[in-house]
Symmetry: C2
Subunit: 214 residues, 2 copies
DNA sequence: GACGCGTTTAACAATTTTGTTAAACAAAAA
DNA sequence: TTTTTGTTTAACAAAATTGTTAAACGCGTC
């Protein structure tokens, strides 16, 4: 026999619900166990320690994020379509898992070592995948001069920050949950136009790409 | 007699060092006491509970942030100079207190109630202070159409996110502490150009404004 | 049915962390 | 000098949280 894949997966899934959807970023092992309706000791049985459970979850979610980005940026889409798709995917994911970015940010801030082995510079970087396209945009004067790094960080800043600062934004601008969601939908257009100063195009995704991003 | 202002202040100051500069976002009362070289019970004597100490610190730092923004955006500077100044101030503050944003984000995420009484929509909002200027920029075609809210959030996203994601950015792009600081300095120009698509102007601050922002 | 094996549970132990309190201390007031 | 008031300390208590363990359980196999 092997370890019960189902239970192990259940624990991870329910922990993710707590972290990414309910926003209990410092949920205790007991709270995780409760959410999964299992005995707390099982968490230690399958993951040894709370720390290791966190590591597994962090690794999974960062991998997935990276896989998505890679799929988009190495697809056959036109450059601006890639960006449009990226914006759509990030914002949609944010709406689905509102605290996922908070989790990543807070875990990597708590222990920067984690970031190192999660995103070693040796990996395929999205910045490398867009460098040529970006250079062309800049050369033809369609975009101001900047490195691929700055470009990607501008992009992900505008996509992610509104989720990180959710409570503040909601209260400063007096938004309800509903108007906040509407606001985030609008941002897709806004972000694209902030970057390219033109309307965001409709993008047809290949079924293959669609499935990777779902 | 009154409570010893000096000791109370010392505790707050040292707590801020831990939170904002050293990045120990979940420092215990003992660690705070150690940093301030005082007995842990003093923290309870002056602030009653850890929670209340956190509240006081959060309130102070958000107030100060808001005061700065208000000073800039109600100054006599030209609109684009205001933005240039804002970018400079935020990035410089970030370099000085690298984890300050992490603190605000994580505290307001942990308990959204806090955000409500920190930034009630009744207050003077920076968005209101730029609305007219922004409308003019848009009307004259210098800027794509967007609300003041989206504009401000684009701006603060690009200013703040790089600090929040510090560890990830450093490790993805293989930066040292030094090259990361250089990178952030460069961003001032980059952010300004991303918004206005032109070089950032030199701004002369009035001595009064200078002192508020120091 | 008894055995073996992975899974699950309840109970326990250890640690960490917060909060309380009584007493010591320092300095100004009486 | 004694008293009073506010400050600081050490010791204690209580709660929360993580990690361990021995026993119970379910189930397929001998």
């Amino acid at each position: 026999m092997v370890k019960d894949q189902a239970t192990e997966e259940l624990i991870k899934e329910k922990a993710k619900v707590l972290f990414f959807q309910k926003g209990f970023l410092d949920a205790t092992t007991q709270e995780i166990a409760d959410e999964a309706k299992v005995n707390r000791a099982l968490i230690h049985y399958y993951f040894r320690s709370r720390e290791q459970l966190m590591d597994v979850i962090l690794e999974e979610v960062v991998s997935r994020k990276r896989a998505r980005a890679k799929a988009i940026f190495s697809s056959s889409l036109a450059f601006r379509e890639k960006i449009a798709t990226y914006i759509n995917v990030i914002v949609d994911q944010g709406l689905l898992f509102p605290y996922l970015e908070n989790f990543i940010i807070s875990e990597t801030a708590r222990d920067p070592e984690r970031a190192n082995f999660l995103c070693s510079p040796a990996r395929t970087k999205t910045t490398d995948l867009i460098r040529d396209d970006l250079a062309l945009e800049i050369k033809t004067g369609k975009l101001g001069p900047m490195t691929a790094e700055h470009f990607m960080i501008n992009l992900s800043s505008m996509c992610n920050y509104p989720f990180l600062a959710k409570s503040i934004l909601k209260s400063v601008h007096g938004m309800t949950d509903q108007s906040y969601r509407k606001f985030l939908q609008d941002r897709k257009q806004i972000i694209y136009r902030a970057i390219f100063n033109e309307e965001m195009p409709e993008v047809q995704l290949t079924p293959e790409l669609k499935s990777i991003l779902s």
